[in-house]
């Protein structure tokens, strides 16, 4: 390439709006909507501006429906922006040039490209042909992926018979076979157990190191982002509300931890409240929010003083953190459980 831009990704004033239709629940609502459709304009991305350098790993955070996925899809050229400009590796994504598509990849934790009825190896071969990967390069890449991802033994099994984690490893391998320089990873670890999350993270980090690839990662798991990204961009309601160092964000956000306990028998709410801020109680399960510094001592006290069957310590969910940091609206106790369910709007 003759023209080498200073930044791998340059986004200015990027916008995307959709027209969606709404309907009342039930058959009557459906009939009404069939003949008279009520539409409204949804501003999924309302003018975002940022740049990303070669080899940089950036975490995209934000509540569901904030516009993260929509932004990624515009960067990948899938969606045409409604306004603003995008430049990725010197290309305009929406033109979808072959040379551009060979430089990027998009991994979506909730969608799969592997052929369901065939072993992953067959999908790899198809991708090899599509991306015109020479045989020797293909073999070398496969050898590397084999060692980092431990694919041995699962490549020849039908994809539909793989576990979710095994499938995600194969999905990643299929998506990176052509050694892209720009990676868009949308919830790549969703639904995976902790071990597998760690494995996937290590792989992404290793890939970034070896190929100097730029990575944008969205995840619901704070740990994914903290393990991989120095820089965080927080999006809320289609706008960037924070762009900066991870340390700065975690200082604000990670100041508190959540202790989830499962009690052996009922305990009064007042007694629970003496250990921390009670977030939710559901039968014998309760969630307490405590300051980070006192997490371990509080957990120890809980174990010693209360009839505890099980205890886990985790970071507060990202939705909650961001809600606290930026919107100021604290999710009410009753919303706590629901707040973790995906409720994507038009993205």
């Amino acid at each position: 390439m003759k023209h080498l831009p200073a930044h791998t990704i340059q986004v200015a004033g990027l916008q995307k709006h959709y027209v969606v239709h709404e309907k009342e629940p039930g058959l009557a609502g459906s009939l009404r909507a069939f003949f008279h459709r009520k539409t409204k304009l949804v501003q999924a991305v309302a003018g975002v501006t940022f740049t990303i350098d070669p080899g940089e790993m950036v975490g995209f955070l934000g509540p569901n429906g904030a516009g993260k996925t929509t932004t990624l899809k515009m960067l990948a050229g899938l969606l045409h922006p409604s306004g603003g400009s995008v430049d990725v590796a010197g290309f305009t994504p929406k033109e979808r040039r072959a040379a551009f598509l060979k430089l990027i990849t998009l991994v979506m934790g909730q969608k799969q490209q592997l052929l369901w009825d065939l072993p992953a190896l067959d999908s790899f071969r198809v991708n090899q042909a599509i991306y015109e990967i020479p045989d020797d390069e293909y073999q070398a890449t496969m050898r590397e992926f084999n060692t980092i991802l431990e694919l041995e033994g699962i490549l020849k099994k039908q994809v539909r018979k793989l576990s979710l984690g095994e499938r995600m490893k194969c999905e990643l391998a299929a998506a990176l076979l052509h050694r892209p320089k720009v990676l868009f990873l949308d919830e790549p670890t969703i639904g995976l157990d902790v071990n597998m999350q760690v494995r996937i993270r290590e792989f992404v980090a290793e890939y970034n190191r070896r190929f100097q690839a730029s990575v944008i990662l969205t995840s619901h798991y704070m740990a994914d982002v903290t393990a991989l990204c120095k820089r965080i961009i927080v999006i809320d309601k289609g706008q960037i509300v924070f762009d900066g160092d991870l340390g700065e964000l975690t200082e604000r956000a990670g100041a508190r931890k959540v202790i989830s306990v499962e009690l052996a028998r009922l305990v009064t709410l007042e007694r629970l409240a003496s250990y921390g801020q009670v977030q939710s109680v559901e039968g014998l399960r309760a969630r307490l929010e405590v300051p980070r510094q006192t997490t371990s001592s509080t957990a120890a006290r809980l174990l010693a003083e209360l009839p505890i069957a099980d205890v886990t310590i985790e970071d507060p969910p990202i939705e909650e953190v961001i809600g606290q940091m930026f919107g100021g609206h604290r999710p009410a106790t009753a919303d706590m459980v629901r707040a973790q369910e995906p409720q994507e709007v038009g993205s």
């Binding site: 490209q113 599509i130 020479p134 993205s347």
Partner: protein, 280 residues
């Protein structure tokens, strides 16, 4: 599969020949993967073979019954009508084998969002959605159609090498027309999302193609020639096969075919431009 890819590794410019060769090779790889996927389920595959044979037998008997009384049909003699019916069966098989498996899945891919992966591939996306799957169970049907056509053609005096070559070209044009029309109807899924009833609409229309257009009243003949190009799907190629070459209809069949492909391409590019994807 994929053994010879080092040759195609040259990433610079390639001539039109290399371009065609690459896409033919891709079509081969897609077909191989598609057949492999069907072979993964042995029982289902065996059932498919059985069903295909039964269907072909049924089609053969259907042809025999339709042709049974030895009467002419809309000015077409017994054997001429047999050529037309054989051709119809053949084209139906080609549609079932090459077009239906792909076009049926397109709308679903838009609805579920897996179209994302298709659109991210660095090859022609219209080709990718159109050539990804094949159904080999139509083979007996194809052979039945070809057999009936061959048998009937052998009984007719006017058939020459030239008319057969011309016929092959026009069958190609016919398949192209069917593809383009169906593809355009399916492409509307990008705006309307769920359009599977279009397949039914299309099948209903296509069924009119098993009769020579001359059996229809003149208004329908006009409709099937100029508005919905059913005439070009079976009647015109059959006429050419029979040695009744009318340059005007040959030229118009080719023009219609090329024109429809151009329009389908334009529509496809419009469609992917307004793709909204599905929630992740």
């Amino acid at each position: 599969m994929g053994r010879s890819s080092t040759q195609t590794a040259t990433r610079g410019k390639r001539g039109p020949f290399g371009f065609i060769l690459r896409y033919l090779r891709l079509a081969g790889i897609f077909a191989a993967a598609s057949v492999s996927a069907q072979l993964e389920y042995r029982t289902n595959f065996a059932l498919g073979v059985l069903g295909a044979l039964l269907e072909a037998t049924g089609a053969l008997f259907g042809l025999l019954i339709l042709l049974g009384d030895g009467q002419s049909l809309g000015g077409w003699s017994y054997y001429e009508a047999a050529v037309l019916l054989g051709l119809f069966t053949f084209i139906q098989g080609m549609i079932g084998g090459l077009l239906r498996p792909n076009l049926n899945k397109m709308a679903e891919a838009v609805r579920s969002g897996t179209m994302d992966f298709t659109l991210l591939k660095p090859i022609d996306t219209q080709f990718l959605v159109s050539a990804r799957n094949v159904n080999i169970f139509v083979l007996p049907n194809l052979l039945t159609g070809l057999g009936v056509m061959g048998w009937a053609l052998a009984q007719l005096p006017g058939v020459t090498i030239l008319s057969i070559l011309g016929g092959i070209v026009l069958v190609g044009a016919a398949l192209t027309i069917v593809y383009a029309v169906w593809f355009m109807l399916t492409t509307t899924a990008f705006w309307f999302v769920k359009v599977e009833n279009i397949t039914e609409l299309f099948n209903g229309l296509f069924r009119a193609g098993q009769f020579p257009v001359t059996v229809f009243p003149s208004w329908a003949r006009f409709l099937f020639t100029f508005v919905l190009p059913i005439a070009f799907i079976t009647t015109v190629p059959a006429e050419v096969l029979l040695g009744r070459i009318r340059p005007a209809s040959v030229v118009s069949a080719l023009v219609v075919a090329v024109g429809l492909v151009v329009v389908s391409r334009w529509l496809w590019l419009r469609a992917i431009g307004s793709y909204t994807s599905a929630s992740s």
